[in-house]
Amino acid sequence: MPDILRTGLSGLLAFQRALATTSHNVANVGTEGYSRQVTDLATKTPQGYGSGFVGNGVDVVSVRRIFDQFAVQNLRTATANAGQSDTVANFAGQIDDIIGDPTAGISSSLQAYFNAWQDVANNPSSAASRQVLISQAQTLASRFSDASTRLDAVAQNVNDKIRADVTQINSLASQLAKLNADIVAAQSSFTGQPPNDLLDKRDTILTQLAQYTNVTTTSDSDGALNVFIGNGQALVLRNVSQTLTATPSSLDSSKLDISYSGSGGTTITQLLSGGELGGLVQVRDEIIDPTRNQLGLVAVGLAVSVNAQQAAGLDLTGQLGSDIFSVAGPRTLPRSANTGSGSAAASISDISALTGDEYDLRYNGSAYSLVRVSDGSSVALTGAGTVANPFVAEGASIVVAGAPAAGDQFRIQPTRTGASSLASVLSDPRGIAAAGPIRTSAALANAGNASISQGDVLDASNVNLLATASIQFLSATTYSVNGGPAVAYTSGGNIDVNGWRVQISGTPVTGDSFTIQKNTGGAGDNRNALLAAGLQNANVLAGGTTSISGAFSVLVGAVGSEAQQANVSRDAQATLASQAKETVSSISGVNLDEEAADLVRWQHAYQAAAQTIAVAGTLFDTLIAAVRR
């Protein structure tokens, strides 16, 4: 006969376990990553009699957690995506603030600077308006370098965060390795029973890891988990974790690359995706660097075009104008792993062809080739790379020297340092070249009615630009310049000599003469100032399609859209992550009402089981009483 006492006792023990599990659930209602646990009960093997099988009570088969692998995997992916887009949105917002600040920004300074040129044009001999222009040039240059300093600070911040994230990933990886060992040990010592709380802890750490980078996992039958990042790079294999390091990139030491530690560790920067780390690399390569290059392009365009205009005019002291702005040339970085002794130096040759991209100059042992960094496309090189005939590509000219080895590379950043290096170098107000270099005059004794234009500069570097020249009419239809050969006269036709161009129009007669000479004392001349002021809207950039102000507007628009897109994507990803979390919670989370009901249920069951023991006691008493008689 089955033992009622034993059967009752099995119930008591089982319900104790069940009550313990329920109170464990209640206790962990606020624990992050906790999965509610249930006690699985099953009848004990019944005892067979001739009259049938009589139950033997209840067994606790297992305590397991309620857990959906798919939902958790989904949460991890969503967390990684949300981490990435949140990081991108944060940094894009910072860049947006720097570039788009409308009151203290570059755009208003550009406007003020060109307006100052207009004021100089209005009153070229006024020292006051010249001084204002000098100050505006200084303000403008410092706006560019301020913005550049702030962008550099953001880039530095990105580097710091990459380092911190790598440290965090390493720490999480070693925790995972240790947990793997614990779980395998726990599971093997208790015949395959799941160590629920350890599993929860491991899943929580995995989700934390997903905050930093995308992870994928495979599990072994003994409970160990293998963790991979990037597209299959092992981070944790059972109880061994890899260590990552952040080291300066071999091509550009201002950027960090992520690699396995140890000498010759593989670089995996470009393989990583998702999470904060993925976001940091994305924001650096797709927003910060292009913004710095594009801002540099505007600065270089401004400096080069203004200086060129300045050189084509005369200042108040009668000299051809000297530079108003100084700006650094392209940055050329040899790869740190280069084995040859080759070197490369780049300079700006044509601002209208500049792009704001970065390039890699590669040597294959016999020839050089140029590759755009952003998309890996190859860029045509013309020239021979010598000083006399440099390589020319997209507005930059490159001179190579020394003996490079096959496989050597140089990173060329034509406009990276443009904004940071922009400085105003003219401090003497008289140095502003407001006047045209030459002036023309018709002799008063001319009998014809021909008139001469004021003259334009074609080539300010011509050594004879300022030399006095005279145009004598040998007949009504021919003229000679400085007593040279006769040239046929066309009314209004261009006469190009010594780097200048004039037009004579009307009807000259024999003996009429015109003089072109240096514009000495031309304090009231504003021709060059007008041309300099006109540079604001002159399409000098992007192949003659964009002005300096326009290029800046384009940059503001581009950064604004990037930031807007990042915000939209952040909101979407955050919602997805929150939904995924909600799904996981709704499966695995504790519901206190449920637990309250369970408490009542198990309490009642426990009381009933205790009652069966009491009945067993009574039965025994009855039996004893019967025997005692």
């Binding site: 018709a442 007669v509 031309g522 990037e562």
Partner: protein, 401 residues
């Protein structure tokens, strides 16, 4: 779907976050009055507002430039009006001096007034603007353009002419140089000048000069030589006979000597051997004209031939003064038309300004009605959501155990 404590909190936090960030955005819009405060909130609007602000600033600079150009042209106009007055007075004096009743003494009185007028003219030609720049020096605005050196007035300026940007595609000359105003004046009647040989013994007086057919005049120099008091021959620069003729003095019709498409009247009685010259008009500055006037006034007249000489010279001066007066009027007309152009451009600029302001406002200014109704809806939603959460949180089975 099963609901756990955590999933309920998660769901509520998510909607709370969204509502709160929308509310913050609306609040920020209302407090700044702008539709967006960062380019990322409206990249296209941000670029538009940058471009429009730039257009506004440029436009107001053009208005400023226009005002400045108008000031300068106004100063030039005033100065030229005074120059015209002086020239007009000189013209009156020349007419007066030509009168036969004048004596050597009265003429020297006139001469001293003319000398004063010359001084005034030079002073006017050296007028400076408010910033100390010479108005009529061309580009050399810090160099005094006209100075009386050794009896002649020399020009030290140049032939430059400054332009001012008064519209995005409009440049306008804000001055004229001294050479073009005071020097580039054709003498005679603008095509040719005619004068008497100072050695003439007769009283032949050059009168009305007329261009009959401009196509026939070749710009050459011709001499008209009287072989007798009534017969003359016209010879060109190479002394080749062009034509010859006779004239009858004292007829009802004033006789004229005509050749090569031009003619001039001749009154008085030339003597045999007298000659007259015709030459193409050349530039003669107005100071030289005035100095010629002075020298002719200061030459004493004692004979009838001398009187004729004087009348011929003063007649030339009158011609030259007429040229100068009409030249100054021409320049003033140009200045006036430039002032008109500035007015027109200022109208255009202020239209552009209004239009751009309106566009800019459309792009960046907030529609308050819309924003405030949005704020109300968002506030209501947030309050309701908070209440609902608080109430559901109070529900628990444990309350009843």
């Amino acid at each position: 779907m099963r609901v756990s404590e955590a999933s309920m909190r998660e769901a509520w936090l998510r909607t709370l976050g969204t509502t709160q960030s929308q509310l913050a955005r609306t609040q920020n819009q209302i407090s700044t009055g702008l539709r967006f405060s960062k380019p990322s909130e409206d990249p296209i609007g941000a670029v538009q507002s940058l471009d429009l602000s730039r257009a506004l600033a440029e436009n107001s600079q053009y208005s400023r430039n226009s005002d400045l150009a108008a000031n300068r042209l106004g100063a030039e106009e005033t100065t030229l009006a005074s120059v015209g007055d002086v020239l007009q007075r000189l013209h009156e004096l020349a007419v007066e001096a030509n009168n036969a009743t004048q004596t050597n003494e009265t003429r020297s009185g006139i001469a001293s007034e003319v000398r004063e007028a010359l001084g005034t003219l030079i002073q006017l030609a050296n007028t400076r603007d408010g910033t100390g720049n010479y108005l009529f020096a061309g580009f050399s605005s810090l160099t005094q353009p006209f100075s009386l050196v050794g009896g002649t007035v020399a020009y030290s300026g140049d032939q430059g002419q400054r332009q001012i940007q008064i519209g995005s595609n409009r440049q306008l000359k804000d001055s004229d140089n001294g050479a073009s105003i005071f020097q580039a004046i054709l003498d005679g009647n603008g095509v040719f000048s005619a004068g008497a040989n100072p050695a003439n013994a007769g009283t032949g007086l050059v009168g009305q000069r007329t261009v009959v057919d401009p196509a026939q005049y070749d710009g050459g120099t011709y001499a008209i030589n009287f072989t007798s008091p009534t017969a003359y021959e016209v010879r060109d620069a190479a002394n080749v006979l062009v034509t010859s003729g006779t004239i009858q003095i004292g007829q009802a019709v004033v006789p004229a000597i005509a050749f090569r498409g031009i003619q001039f009247e001749l009154t008085g009685q030339p003597a045999a051997g007298d000659s007259f010259q015709v030459a193409a008009s050349r530039n003669q500055d107005m100071f030289t004209t005035v100095q010629n006037f002075i020298s002719s006034l200061e030459t004493p007249v004692n004979t009838a031939a001398g009187q004729a000489q004087l009348n011929n010279k003063v007649g030339n001066v009158l011609n030259d003064l007429d040229q100068a007066i009409s030249h100054v009027l021409d320049v003033r007309a140009q200045v006036g038309s430039r002032l008109n152009a500035i007015d027109a451009q200022k109208d255009i600029n202020s239209d552009i300004d209004l239009h751009t302001q309106a566009l800019l406002s459309q792009v960046k200014d907030l529609d308050y009605a819309d924003a405030i109704s949005r704020l109300n809806i968002q506030l209501t939603g947030l309050t309701a959501s908070e209440k609902a959460f608080a109430q559901t949180q109070n529900l628990s089975l444990f309350n009843y155990l």
